[in-house]
């Protein structure tokens, strides 16, 4: 059974561990975050390519795993959760992905999701029908990827707020 998505965008317990290292290496955490943002964007792009191009589920699996690792290490737990779904869908060990409304409803009420967050993430929301074989998983991964992008935006927003700069 898939466990539910964490409610909080950022697990501050984890991120604070990283931030605490800023003490002898100022800007350490911030540089990590910047690095992560680049990494995430790149990874999302690679996922897109695989979804459209070679439809290589294995690649999607390892990309999901890859981004899951760094997301989790930084405490970006919702992204990590979605990445894990992508990983598992790539392995075909799961065959469902919750819909967006359901997932966004788990967010704490303090976090507003505005239209900007949802834009450009319309792909993947098409119905998963007449899909057989790998198509089913690819479609689900499409959904998951668009969700990952939403989560990414939310996390980025929260991080920008914390660092008081636009990240």
């Amino acid at each position: 059974m898939i466990d539910t998505i964490p409610s909080e965008v950022i697990n501050w317990n984890i991120l604070n561990e990283i931030i605490s290292m800023d003490e002898d290496d100022p800007e350490f955490s911030k540089s990590l975050i910047t690095q992560y943002i680049d990494q995430a964007i790149t990874t999302f792009g690679q996922m897109d390519e695989h979804l459209v191009g070679d439809k290589d589920l294995k690649e999607l699996d390892s990309l999901g795993h890859f981004l899951k690792g760094s997301s989790a290490a930084l405490g970006l737990q919702r992204i990590a959760w979605v990445c894990e779904r992508i990983q598992n869908l790539g392995r075909k060990s799961e065959n469902v992905f919750p819909n967006r409304i359901e997932l966004l409803s788990t967010l704490p009420s303090t976090i507003g999701v505005d239209a900007g967050d949802l834009s450009e993430s319309n792909d993947g929301q098409e119905t998963v029908e007449n899909s057989n074989g790998d198509e089913l998983y690819l479609n689900l991964i499409r959904q998951a990827l668009s969700q990952a992008r939403i989560e990414f935006k939310l996390a980025r927003k929260e991080l920008s707020h914390y660092y008081k700069t636009e990240l």
């Binding site: 990494q39 390892s62 690792g69 760094s70 290490a73 930084l74």
Partner: protein
Amino acid sequence: MKRQSIPIINSSSKSMLLNMATSRKIWCRIDNSSDDINEPILVEYDEMDTIDDFKTKIFNKLNETRFKAENNNASVVIGFYQIRNNNNNGERTNSTITETNSNPFTKFTSGRSNSRGLPKVESFPNNAQLDSPVFINSRNGNNNNNNNNNSNSSREELNITPVSDKPGLPNRLGSNDISANSSSLYDTSEDTTPQRLSTSSPKLAFSSRMSVPPKYGFHPLSSSYGNNKNSPMFLPPLTIPYNSSNTSTGINSNSGSNGGKLSLSHSPSYIIHPSLRKPLNYTIQEVNDNTYRIVFDPDQLISEIYLELFGSLGQQSASEPLLIFSNNDLSLGNGNFNSTISARNHFITNMNSKLYKKESSTIQLEMKEDQLFQNNTPNKLFDNNLLAPVPNHVSPSNDHKRPHYANNNDVDVDDMEKGEEEDGIESNIINEGDEIESDANQLSLNEEEGEDYPKQGVLLLPKGYYNKNEENDWASTGNDEDTINEDNGNEFVLFNDRDTKPVMVHTKRALSEQEVGPSIPETEIRKPVVNDPFRTQNMLLNIPNNNNNENTVSGNLGKYANISNVPTPLSTTFPMPLKMIKNETIGVNNPDKNNVNTSEKVFPKINVLIVEDNVINQAILGSFLRKHKISYKIAKNGKEAVDKWKEGGLHLIFMDLQLPVLSGIEAAKQIRDCEKKKTKANNAPVIIVALTASNSIDDKRKALISGCNDYLTKPVNLHWLSKKITEWGCMQALIDFDSWKQGQSRMTDNVIMKSPHKTKVKEN
């Protein structure tokens, strides 16, 4: 209990050495074996072994014997018999089996009846063994007992009702009204044959040292097995220290044809013996009128038991062994030549199905099959004869109650069994599952215990977790003598789990910002470690935590700034000596600064390889190691890892498992293979700690099989990381002491810290 008074800082490394040099052994003997020859065995244990670990060792010792084939850690308990001081023979009424049981325990009590040569104790009913009223302590309401009862009556009526054993229910203690408790009481008409007693009981030897307060241990139990009594029994209310929410179960079953009533009772309790510094945790199980059984909790340290029962090492003689109780009345060895292990297993598996068929064929009532099925299911789960019965709703009119092969109708079923049980011993069934459950309850109830020992489950709470109640717990156990004085930065208090005496450390300056680090509130130590069999093994070596200063936390993690103001129990321990505060040491490690980095004191000097494909994680781990002045290299994939390892000089590898090019598993395998090929005497094998992304046991198992020594779950908790570094670094240091020692003065400094409980170290 001297060990307890030594700060763990020192005892840690010392005990490791001790464990290497001397072996701790304890005599044990298998109870409930009907074999004529059943000698005690000497089993080794380690200082930090719990009863559960100890069981594992027993099984290792009993390699390939049938006992092992039939039992596992969950199905055996360790303990001994204890004679009740006040006999209640007066309460015995005209029992149906009085003629065979009229002179109970005369031999049993008079000393150790050797199972060999001495006449069997005729009067000891078979229920004295594990089918005796075992108290099942259950919180979730599944409370069942299967008992084989001695009775001449061929059939008994069963009154089984679902349990509601919630604390506070009126029927919890008074067994007068036990309808809420369920039991299944099985009787057999064959059972009046007395069982021979193959037990030499250590109880007499024990009783002088470990007397159970009458309040708990000696309440008159009106019933014994086969003793059909009409008078219900009343237990005195129990006031149990430690455990306010203990549950007590009474069992009351109607013994049908005789109209007798059987009342059993159980009071799992934590008994604090005044003379015990740390009370042994055990449960008392009534065996019968005169005898009860002390059964140690799985989390009880075996070394403490030894200390309490026998004194210092080597004092125990073979004639006073601890007893290993199991569910099954089994021979220890292959007494029957025709019963090989495989045959036995085959038999067991067959038995269930046979049973099923047999029973269903003899039962007319339609519900029977369900009942049997229910009873058989857990049976299979436990892979032995353990029955963990589910609440059965059997109407009293059913006269065929037992889903159990010991029924005399089932003679054909257990031919094999007969061989061992010709004296009428029945295979015993106990609801061990519930007992385990009760242990789990105890676990959670005793916070201190949970903290102290490398049990399989270390309580893990979220970072920053602080529980007011916990503090109170600590207060009550005297472990919070001191609190961190936030105002005085020059002084911090260190103490450890065992020792209530804090070690005061003075430094000239308040802890500087350099102290910062992956330090995490101490409360975080209580974090759940995945309960995993492998884990236990890894943790046998109880290498203490690295110290994390609270001050650090407050200084740097704004979020937790308040934590250090709260009197928080520290369970800080130093594997390395505190006395690092020497200028030359500082000069070497930390030329730029005048301050002492705490981590330098703890972290051994080792070379670490990080194998991780994600740059972010590399950066985090790398930064962490840099902070602790641990030299490290980074490899991006398994192939690189193997190459870097071949360059040599590595002590510790943190290996991500899912890597491009060559997976961590493969890399670990290759490294181990290479190690086997070239066996340099001097080079200790590298320690590989797997970083598993998932919590799946499968991954972990794979990692360990491939040659990893340990694992951490990602995202890596930096606190655990530092623990692992300390732990394995120390291991390496011990294995390869000479090469490690160069440039190290820490090990010898340890001695200085060892003697006084309270030491002040001034920085010069």
